[in-house]
């Protein structure tokens, strides 16, 4: 077991800590698979509007790699398929039939005999997209090899669900999922946890434990990977969230696709901060209308993810386990007008705080300069291959220029991915 203390990175406010007990969410009425989680993949649809689907049915594939599939999180009817710019999928929305099904809908489970078998199974059943690669932060290619797999079970703050509480719901599934990952990786499987969490005892063979403590940056897979097994040119590392490990274990044990997502409902507007058992892609607006308090007219900003790395969304992101009900962005009242008139946000001021913003050992100001002018070579030399959007969210927050470094980083990463291919 290795221990890491991360002193760099921001500390998120921890007001309104949720009650760490899993509350049942009445069967979700609506969920969606959103295009933002496809990282530029183009969807080849398998269903059309009006089709009836069961949870776990494949609804679309990646057009370039048809082996990569995406499963319906909910049983019900496909109510809308929305497209964004250049006909990319924006959201595939399913209206639920109001029945929560946890029972196996498929043939009984057969444990995968070898690595290829396991790979096939995850690809076919829509669980492959639980993995994200470093570098680039995309879904791995079907034939890609992982030099290591990092299981992220470190909460970014006390507002996130406590992994030990969530895993306690399905401990065997987590164990089996973890054990199966060792078949998948060429190198070690690292289970990252908070100091006093007991997740899995004893650990499956081949799984190494790493303990992370410190700022909110500990909850980012990028921070963990950079300490355990830095990714870079020629070294690919996959990250996966602990709830997806449970889903893999559940698939292997029962043969059923588990779209369950236990998430925390927190933020200044959450009346009762708590954990909810919901599904991947759950309709956050519907949950917000219940959770935001007694006043039905009080609107709030609904964020999928935490207050730093999350973004405003109607549906829960594929990789998020937290929704934040933030104060609404106020309409143009007087102070706001004064703020926009007075505040000039254009140049980068190299303040000392920027040096302490990121949990990853990268020179922040040169990186910000390279990103803001789109200097791909310099950004690569500075180590941008270790980063994805969530890792640089703190820089956007602290910078006087008002630039969105996540978006700038994505452009640079896309360029590097094209060059590497």
């Amino acid at each position: 077991m290795v221990r890491f203390r991360i002193s760099k990175g921001l500390k998120l406010p921890e007001k309104g800590i949720p009650r760490q007990r899993v509350d049942e969410h009445p069967a979700p009425r609506r969920a969606a698979l959103v295009g933002a989680d496809l990282f530029g993949m183009r969807a080849a649809l398998e269903v059309s509007v009006g089709d009836v689907v069961a949870a776990g049915d494949i609804v679309f594939r990646d057009r370039r790699n048809p082996e990569i599939t995406f499963a319906a999180p909910l049983s019900g009817q496909v109510s809308a398929i929305e497209f964004g710019p250049r006909r990319t999928l924006s959201a595939l929305i399913i209206d639920g039939d109001g029945v929560r099904r946890d029972d196996p809908v498929e043939s009984p489970a057969v444990a995968p005999s070898n690595r290829t078998d396991l790979r096939e199974r995850l690809l076919q059943r829509g669980l492959w997209n639980a993995f994200r690669t470093r570098p680039f932060g995309i879904i791995p290619a079907p034939a890609a090899r992982a030099d290591a797999i990092v299981v992220n079970a470190v909460p970014s703050s006390a507002l996130a669900p406590d992994p030990s509480v969530v895993i306690a719901v399905r401990p065997e599934a987590f164990r089996d999922g973890l054990a199966s990952l060792t078949q998948l990786a060429d190198g070690p499987v690292h289970l990252c946890r908070a100091p006093d969490a007991i997740l899995c005892n004893p650990l499956p063979e081949g799984v190494e434990e790493a303990v992370f403590s410190g700022t909110s940056a500990v909850g980012l897979a990028g921070t963990q990977i950079s300490r355990l097994c830095p990714a870079g040119p020629g070294r690919q590392v996959w990250s996966i969230g602990y709830q997806d490990v449970i889903a893999i274990g559940h698939l292997l044990r029962t043969g059923a696709y588990l779209a369950e997502r236990i998430m925390s409902v927190v933020g200044p507007r959450a009346a009762r901060p708590r954990l909810l058992r919901s599904v991947i892609g759950a309709d956050l607006h519907a949950i917000a209308s219940v959770e935001a308090g007694t006043d039905p007219t009080s609107s709030c900003t609904v964020i999928s993810g935490d207050s730093l790395t999350g973004c405003e969304a109607q549906f829960l992101g594929r990789y998020d386990d937290q929704m934040t009900l933030a104060d609404p962005v106020r309409p143009a009242d007087r102070t706001r007008k004064l703020h926009t008139r007075l505040v000039q946000r254009s140049a980068i001021t190299p303040t000392v705080q920027l040096e302490r913003a990121m949990g990853i050992d990268v020179l922040p100001v040169p990186l910000m300069r390279a990103l803001s002018v789109g200097d791909v070579d310099t950004a690569e030399r500075l180590g941008c291959l270790e980063l994805i959007e969530e890792d640089v969210a703190a820089l956007s927050r602290l910078c006087t220029s008002g630039a969105d470094y996540g978006r700038l980083l994505r452009e640079v990463l896309d360029q590097l991915a094209v060059d590497a291919a």
Partner: protein, 262 residues
Amino acid sequence: MTRPHVLVGHWGVTGVTAAQGLALLAPVGVALLQGGALKAMMLIAAVVVVLIWELLFALLRNRRVSFHGLTVAVIVAVLSPALLPLWQLAIALSLGLVLGELVFGGRGFGFVAPATVTLSVLVVSFPQAGLAPVSAQIALATVPGALFLLYLGLMSWRVVVGVMLALLALQGLSLDPIAVATALSFGLVFLACDPVAAASTNPGRWLYGALTGLLIALFSAGNGAITTEALVFAALLSSIFAPLIDHLVVLADAARRRRRFG
């Protein structure tokens, strides 16, 4: 959201200038008390010149007027000699502000502190005038502002320590430490430690500070004391070298990264 570093991000470049303005209040107050009407005249003249240029560039570039030049005016007014003709001040300030900041697109886009450029122009073009030495009172009044800027991260302690170490290494304790601290204080905080002018990486800040200290020692060699002129030129030269220092740090970082990946 009330923590200092988030505030700086929230208020943008305007917030940086406002914080520097706040930090300048005490020293400029003391300078006005000591300098009387002459100093006040100089300050007013400097502010007028600065505002004219800010307005002109705002019109030329079709942007909103910015007020970043005000801090430049205040710093220059504090360090200008009491008997400086106002036209000389106007010329130096115009050159400094335009060439040091406005031609680059405003605050934060250049690589030198416009106040440093202004004072350098003043010394080079009108050498008989010299610069005002910093009194002990002004030096003392600088301290709260310096702490405030350190707290907001708009000034790096690494630069300060770098300067001190270099001076100590080169001159030992041959100079009176109190006199050195007095002479350095105001210029070090508002010229050398300006976040735009200084290096922008932590290793770079050490090197930048050391270079500044070395140049201060070099320029004031033979004087028996540290002069404001030496400090200004040292700040100017080292801020010109700051981008190079940062570049070297980036190269070293890239080499380290390559070694790690073999």
